[in-house]
């Protein structure tokens, strides 16, 4: 029988787990008198463990799909969460859906005013990198970049080195900026800090002191850890202003792990109105012609009338050969002429990519080939990924290897 998603199952007296909607395992354990949370992705390949040591008790409770610990001063709950919108969560004027595959929330309840306003939690990560998502600058906003308020000051968590195929964009989770809420429903953003890009040791949540001074207690602080493959911020790839359409071409570089052929590219797109927009996807090879001149490997594949609603847009490729060890740039662009005046079409991304990223205003009708563009100052992980088929190992190689093995094994 298939396990129900986002439902806690007790594995042992002090150990529980639930499965996310994309079938990843999340563990909640009462260990060393505290609660330890373990988030896994891609089976056991990547993981993130958080030891909630600020509430220590010999006893815990498991009730109504949550695990709880309590002391005279504090209470701690940990439980699964489903996809939710920013409008529902904290009244954002923009309503973005997050945690598409579900996730985990812990709630720390301060029954009275604490002595400190900061909680530093030990963490252990395996095969993950933690990218801080900065507050948007005036320039970002002027360029039309959009970001939910709980993504500013948050962390996007990616596989340390892998993406594409089963890894999709390489994104494991998103750790959203926590909110503190008092008994009268006054709310304040907390700050979040993780002390390392790779192999961090601590996660710190800081509540504004002024809020704690003025709050009516109890105060609840509840960071969300959301499973998702999509970036949390949006950049324009098509727009129209004063009747003139404009196109931007955006892409991220990635090193092909093995030789193969390209099946399709997916990009996470949306409109800010009801426009459907023609879009193209291209594969270029980084610096293949010269520095900053990227030869075209897969000719632009055009999808007409990409829908307005947030979605993965799939561009079917033509089995183009991709060579192991070569750096390719997967990129997309949208037709600004399809936008209504004043409106835009967006591609999702997270700040701080593991590899280089590129973007510029472009000609939609005739995308440059080779693409001549220098890399961005700040690298980003655009929510674009490729599905490819690895080339099988040749029979002659197998024969040669088999002969060598037999000799080495003194079989011949």
């Amino acid at each position: 029988m298939l396990e129900e998603k986002l439902k806690i199952i007790q594995d042992a007296p002090s150990r529980y787990h639930f499965k996310t909607k994309d079938n990843q395992r999340v563990v909640i354990e009462h260990k060393d008198r505290g609660l330890t949370l373990g988030l896994h992705k891609w089976g056991e390949e990547a993981s993130f463990e958080i030891a909630l040591n600020m509430v220590l008790s010999d006893k815990h409770q498991f009730l109504e799909n949550r695990v709880e610990l309590e002391t005279p001063a504090l209470k701690l709950h940990a439980y699964p969460i489903d996809a939710r919108s920013t409008g529902e969560l904290y009244g954002d004027s923009d309503d973005d859906i997050q945690c598409q595959d579900g996730g985990l929330r812990f709630e720390l309840v301060l029954k009275g005013k604490p002595i400190v306003n900061s909680f530093t939690i030990p963490i252990v990560a395996k095969n993950l990198r933690f990218s801080y998502q900065p507050f948007l600058t005036e320039q970002d906003i002027a360029q039309g970049t959009r970001c939910p308020l709980n993504v500013e000051g948050s962390y996007a968590v990616y596989h340390v080195s892998k993406k594409n195929n089963q890894y999709m964009t390489g994104k494991a989770f998103h750790i959203y900026r926590p909110i503190a809420e008092d008994a009268l429903s006054s709310k304040a953003w907390c700050s979040l800090h993780i002390d390392g890009y790779i192999d961090p040791k601590t996660l710190t949540i800081t509540v504004p002191q002024q809020f704690l001074d003025e709050a009516v207690y109890p105060v609840t602080i509840d960071p969300d850890f959301g499973y998702t493959s999509m970036g949390g911020t949006w950049v324009i790839i098509a727009s129209k202003n004063k009747g003139v359409g404009s196109t931007s071409r955006k892409g991220s570089a990635w090193t092909m792990p093995a030789t193969g052929t390209a099946n399709y590219i997916r990009a996470y797109l949306k409109s800010d109105t009801t426009d459907t927009v023609d879009c193209k996807a291209v594969i270029n090879q980084k610096d293949s012609v010269a520095v900053s001149q990227h030869g075209q490997i897969a000719a632009p594949v055009e999808n007409l009338a990409c829908v307005a609603a947030i979605h993965w847009e799939e561009f079917t490729l033509g089995d183009e050969a991709l060579t192991g060890g070569v750096v390719y740039i997967l990129n997309v662009l949208g037709n600004g002429d399809d936008c209504s005046d004043g409106f835009k079409y967006f591609l999702a991304f997270d700040t701080d990519g593991a590899v280089n990223s590129y973007g510029e205003t472009h000609n939609y009708v005739a995308p440059e080939s080779p693409w001549i563009v220098i890399l961005d100052g700040t690298t980003v992980d655009h929510s674009i990924y490729c599905n490819y088929t690895e080339a099988p190992v040749g029979l002659e190689n197998k024969s040669a290897n088999m002969a060598a093995k037999m000799i080495a094994g003194k079989l011949i």
Binding site: Y90, D92, S93, L149, N241, K242, D341, G342
Partner: protein, 255 residues
């Protein structure tokens, strides 16, 4: 015959003027208020913009700042800008009545009611199908907008008693010079028209077209509470500048 609320808000602050529609749409959708016709007039000029308006390309920001003209961003998804002065009168119809089984019918009857109201005043106007303008000859006397929230429909349009064209051209960046294509009640009738006269004409026009009875009333307590919450949002810097807001206080964002 259905009995609806009629509310007249004269010389109200520009923020209340601009988001009273949102208040009514919210309250009626929540069933805490009945169907309503609102007529309102601001006490000072304002520049309304849509949720997606790029302020730098649609508004003369420094002029508005120097002259105390508030820029008020609405939740409506459009990217344009407008201008209202103290002679602007807005008519807002909000309902979830079964009298209107479709949005299309609601919109048609709304425009018909506006044309009927102008006729009471002595102005021969028309609404070209598919347009959101009311025309007198070649000139526009009113522009309109609407929204559906749940089962609740809202349409609004603005009539100008008179209009400060020069101030409008200085405050917003527009493709056309307003003087050539926007007309006013004073311009068409050759005399001053009062707020009360417009209210009477609008009441007659809507009552006869929609076959409803309008009873004078006020915003209720729940609506005043919604108004207060919306005020926090609409006057926040992040909402005006960027069209984003939430009730969560941010102590960390740099100034």
């Amino acid at each position: 015959m259905e009995v609806w609320r009629f509310i007249a808000l004269r010389n109200i602050d520009p923020y209340t003027f601009q988001y009273a529609r949102e208040v009514l749409t919210t309250s009626i959708d929540k069933d805490v208020a009945p169907s309503t016709l609102l007529v309102e007039q601001p006490s000072s000029p304002l520049v309304p913009v849509g949720k997606d308006t790029d302020l730098r390309s649609k508004v003369r920001l420094q002029f508005c700042k120097d002259n105390g003209i508030p820029i008020i961003r609405t939740a409506s998804h459009h990217a344009s800008s407008g201008f209202y002065d103290t002679n602007s009168i807005r008519c807002v119809l909000v309902t979830k009545s079964p009298l209107f089984p479709s949005w299309e019918l609601f919109v048609m009857l709304f425009y018909k009611s506006i044309v009927a109201s102008l006729k009471v005043l002595g102005i021969q106007a028309e609404h070209p199908p598919g347009s959101n303008n009311i025309l007198v000859g070649q000139k526009k006397t009113s522009t309109s907008s609407g929204i559906v929230v749940g089962n609740t429909m809202m349409m609004s349009c603005t009539l100008s008693l008179d209009f400060d064209y020069d101030l409008a051209d200085k405050a917003i960046i527009s493709k056309k010079v307003m003087r050539g294509w926007v007309t006013t009640l004073k311009g068409e009738l050759g005399r001053d028209v009062s707020f009360d006269e417009v209210c009477d004409a609008v009441k007659q026009g809507f009552q006869s077209t929609l076959r409803i009875e309008l009873k004078d009333s006020d915003l209720n307590d729940e609506e005043m509470h919604i108004m207060k919450n919306l005020g926090e949002k609409h006057q926040s810097e992040t909402w005006v500048k960027y069209g984003k807001w939430s009730p969560v206080k941010d102590y960390w964002r740099s100034e």
